[in-house]
């Protein structure tokens, strides 16, 4: 029984020792081994089961994956004196865990270092470039709507881009990357997440955009009025033309007819103008006299002459 008790204790101790001689490393991790705080051997990056001296050696784990860094947006003036908010982000990884362990020890400290390094280089690089270089990436020529071109001509001036956004980001990256090496950090990239105008500049840009559109709207309106006036003018002109031509033609026709009639009459009546006058007068009498008329005739008229004298000679 006594024997059993000892063997159990020995077994437990043995198990503890065995367990302490092995450690597992995840695919996501890398590690360095320290012995009383002193690093021993190279970094361990291969995932799986590994050996160490129990109790004496300690395993320090670090991330092997790509890690994120997202900076605060910073207000920076560009070389053309425009104040912008610039928000960058970066990916990085721990390539030298030993250096990392010795210099920054933990990720949160590393973030602090990255803040300092990237913010500083960003400020340097950005302030020596103009805004347009930061916004544009290539010299691709911009396309505008017809209405915009109509208002601003073909002369939408385009500046030539020397660097472009990605090259600037790359420059920041190059400078920052070399500064990160001493911390065992490999910088993978630095990218510009956001660029925005500061309040004041933004307000001015809005005003400019508004006035651009107002111009376009005003142009449409006056074009409308112009076309309308043109159409109404055309209408009036055509109307006058139609009406006057019709009048002219009608008068010609009427005139010709009147002339012809006149000729016909003249031809006929010229045979005896006297008789014509007589006939026409009688016709006129018939046509014009009615119960509204009172006639006073003397007895020496041709009609009543027989009332006084059968011969009608008196």
């Amino acid at each position: 029984m006594k024997m059993n008790k000892y063997s159990l204790i020995i077994l437990i101790i043995a198990l503890i020792v065995i367990f302490n001689s092995f450690f597992t490393l995840d695919e996501r991790q890398q590690a360095i081994i320290t012995q009383f705080g002193d690093p021993i051997g190279d970094k361990i990056t291969k995932a799986g089961l590994h050996l160490k001296i129990p109790f004496i050696q300690k395993v320090n784990y670090f991330e092997k994956r790509i890690l994120e860094w997202d900076g605060e947006a910073k207000q920076i003036p560009t070389s053309d004196k425009r104040y912008i908010w610039l928000d960058t982000f970066s990916r990085w990884r721990i390539v030298d865990p030993l250096k990392f362990y010795q210099t920054v020890r933990s990720e949160s400290f590393a973030h602090g270092r990255l803040d300092d390094i990237i913010s500083g280089t960003t400020r340097d690089v950005v302030s020596s470039n103009s805004l347009i270089e930061l916004v544009r990436n290539t010299n691709r020529s911009l396309v505008f709507t017809e209405e915009y071109q109509d208002n601003y001509g073909g002369g939408v001036q385009e500046e030539i881009i020397d660097m472009g956004r990605n090259n600037i980001a790359n420059q920041i990256f190059q400078r920052a990357a070399s500064l990160c090496e001493e911390y065992g950090i490999q910088l993978i990239d630095v990218k510009v997440k956001r660029i925005n105008y500061n309040e004041e500049v933004g307000q001015k840009v809005y005003e400019r955009m508004i006035s651009e559109r107002q111009k376009i709207a005003a142009k449409y309106r006056s074009e409308g009025q112009g076309s309308s006036a043109e159409i109404l003018g055309k209408k009036q002109k055509e109307l006058d033309q139609i009406q006057s031509e019709a009048y002219k033609n009608a008068q010609e026709i009427i005139g010709r007819a009147d002339a012809e009639a006149t000729k016909i009459f003249a031809d006929a009546y010229n045979r005896d103008p006297n008789f014509f006058e007589f006939l026409k007068t009688l016709e006129a009498y018939t046509a014009t006299m009615d119960n509204k008329n009172t006639m006073i005739m003397t007895t020496d008229s041709d009609y009543y002459k027989f009332l006084k004298d059968t011969d009608g000679t008196k």
Partner: protein, 326 residues
């Protein structure tokens, strides 16, 4: 007797027997735990990634599988068929037939500078799938954040190389395609194991303060059309009518001409006829015509006064007033 004997013997036999039984039970229990804790299922939309002592060993497909328990094998399930979605510039508050969205407070995500240094308000969606679960799990931490950051960066890069007109009006499809290509390229560079399914540009607008001005351009455009249409309408009302009227005027003139000439001919012919007869008996005919006319006229007249040609001072006889009244 037999019972008695058996009771006697156990003193040293029962512990022996029960020890064996305990060991058997223990083994059975251990084996059972081994099996039951080792069994796992992988759902149809997932795969299982197995690590032994932290080292990747296998990817298992949907179905029932076995792994070594007690922390030796660890399982991570990755939804490889699932399409994940990230929204920019807005958030779906409540998906459904009629989804509700919020755009408040996401201005920083959606406002961006265009190539002509204007500002556009762009809302978009990124849909992605885990193409390579190994890379997804082991190459990059916090992949969602990475996709968000990259998507914002690439979108701004694309928009920054286009005019506000292009972004807002002209080439939305191109922009979405270009973002997709750029984003995929960047994610491949990171070895992320992510495949971008689609990029959808949702609302692409001028920023809020500028919106009324943009809308005003549209209403001005419509106003222009309306005014021009109204003018044409007026033209179309007046001109055909005037043309018709002109035709009528001419037709009427032609009618008049025909009428005039015919009547002239008629009258002339009549005169000629009468004249031909008159020529033969001038005096008689003239008198006859005169008398016939008088005969026609006189009955129609109101009053006929026959006055002796010697009579002077005719006026007192006439009651002009009365005659006028009649």
């Amino acid at each position: 007797m037999a019972d008695f004997e058996e009771i006697k013997i156990p003193k040293n036999k029962i512990p022996h027997f029960s020890k064996r039984k305990t060991v058997t039970t223990l083994i059975i229990v251990v084996v059972a735990i081994f099996f039951f804790t080792g069994l796992y299922t992988v759902d149809p939309e997932e795969v299982g990634v197995i690590q032994r002592f932290g080292k990747y060993v296998d990817t298992t497909q949907p179905g029932l599988h076995f792994k070594i328990p007690f922390g030796i094998d660890t399982l991570t399930k990755v939804k490889v068929k699932h399409v994940y979605k990230e929204e920019f510039g807005f958030r779906t508050l409540q998906p459904g037939v009629k989804s509700t969205y919020s755009t408040r407070g996401y201005d920083l995500e959606s406002l961006m500078l265009t190539g002509d240094l204007n500002i556009a308000d762009v809302e978009w969606i990124v849909q992605y799938r885990i193409k390579d679960p190994i890379k997804y799990l082991f190459h990059i931490r916090n992949i969602e954040e990475t996709i968000r950051d990259l998507s914002e960066s690439v979108t701004r890069e694309v928009v920054g190389d286009r005019s506000s007109d292009e972004v807002i009006v002209l080439s939305r499809k191109d922009i979405a395609d270009q973002i997709q290509t750029g984003l995929q390229q960047n994610l491949d560079d990171y070895g992320s194991g992510i495949e971008i399914y689609t990029i959808n540009l949702q609302n692409v607008n001028p920023p809020d303060p500028v919106k009324p001005a943009f809308n005003d351009v549209n209403s001005a455009k419509q106003e222009k059309e309306r005014i021009v249409n109204e003018a044409w309408q007026n033209y179309n009302q007046i001109i055909p009518e005037a043309k018709g009227k002109a035709k009528r005027t001419i037709e009427e003139a032609e009618g008049y001409a025909i009428d005039r000439v015919n009547r002239a001919n008629g009258d002339a012919e009549r005169f000629v006829q009468i004249y031909n007869q008159y020529k033969n008996a001038k005096s008689v005919t003239k008198k006859r015509l005169y008398l016939e006319t008088m005969q026609k006229i006189l009955p129609k007249l109101d009053k006929v006064y026959i006055v002796d040609d010697d009579l002077k001072g005719l006026l007192p006889l006439l009651d002009l007033q009365k005659g006028g009244e009649k």
